[in-house]
Symmetry: C2
Subunit: 230 residues, 2 copies
Amino acid sequence: MSLTGLEPAKTSKGEQTRAVILETALELFRERGYEETTMRAIAERAEVSLGNAYYYFKSKEHLIQAFYSRLQDAHHAASVGILESERDLKPRLLGVMRAMIVTTEPYHRFAGVLFRTAADPESPLNPFSPESEPARRQSIELFTRVVEGSKARVPSDLKQELPYLLWLYHMGVTLFWIHDSSPGTRRTYRLIDRTVDIVVKLISLASNPLMRPLRKAALALVVELRESDS
Amino acid sequence: MSLTGLEPAKTSKGEQTRAVILETALELFRERGYEETTMRAIAERAEVSLGNAYYYFKSKEHLIQAFYSRLQDAHHAASVGILESERDLKPRLLGVMRAMIVTTEPYHRFAGVLFRTAADPESPLNPFSPESEPARRQSIELFTRVVEGSKARVPSDLKQELPYLLWLYHMGVTLFWIHDSSPGTRRTYRLIDRTVDIVVKLISLASNPLMRPLRKAALALVVELRESDS
DNA sequence: GTCTATAACCGGATAGAC
DNA sequence: GTCTATCCGGTTATAGAC
């Protein structure tokens, strides 16, 4: 519960007020962007006092957190279709990556802020922070399904770390997308098409017995990196 | 000029005031961290008025920018030793990477903010932004020297992009370092030791004629990515 | 044109009454 | 749970001295 930033809202009254504030905030973020939206403006349009808005969301950043967890659910929902109908690794990955862009598209403009706060090691929004562990786990879990549900044959040591590696890959694509100002973020779609192809080729290359030593070295490293998150 | 954030300060008097403000700011940042240091506190200790501080630095962020460009010079200076004495690619890269951590160490605490602002697509500090093109070029240039000065044999298509790729690699290491709270950032040093090894192995793997198609595909992609920065 | 200072504005955040 | 009043700090406007 506390994990999704949905702390209060015990009574239905509170739940409702909380929802109104969040909805209004997202609306304003979409309209004018994050920096340009003041807490006062949110409170005003939501018809609550400023103090009340802060009662439900400890800070402006906490509104982002709530938004982020919602986004993730949407991405999940948008991905199930392909995951249920497709067995090949490549189209599975492709589908999930495209679904991500499609669901986040309306918020492209204010995604920059999301990423900025996420990059702060101190921020609870940081994808490597303990606070966001559940969100991270959920996201990685999606990539576990991408791999597990496919008929691709992958050595077990790699298979174990692959979801995490794909999650990292998806973070990189997200970073690119945030900076992508091409119409309809075409460039991001092209990036996905190209990189998914390369990723799949790399997986099959890494699965080659000749690659075993290098693969082992690289995977040992990945495992060690992962220790830092928890 | 405007690029390093060193705009005003034509006269020696102004230059001096400017330097005092920057020095004081960095001192306070080290003492209490970034958020906890107010512009008013900086102005007070530097014995100038608040308005005056803003005359020299358009915003608090611009202080970071000045700091960043200074860091980069220090890294450069700390790297020349190895680059002049060593011909093997691996120790060259290792030396440059270690030099980076050594020079930035004293600012580890407030590096998080640096990175946070750098992650904002709108920020001039963003390493992919046009404003930081000179800084980026300078940094990539360092890796060009790492490659060019070595006796490693690398196919020319890869050799061309390698400095950029190594620069990306160094950004990744930096990201890790920022989150590294182990004593003396030991984990980062270990990461460097391990990844440099892997990177060098990957370069030699990618240089294999059998890898040509995959290498070509990957490099074409890298080139395309680079178009977005300028 | 270079520099310095004072006063105010604006918005995120908090305290405390109801 | 909700409000009003207030604080605090980044930033700006402005006026004037050298």
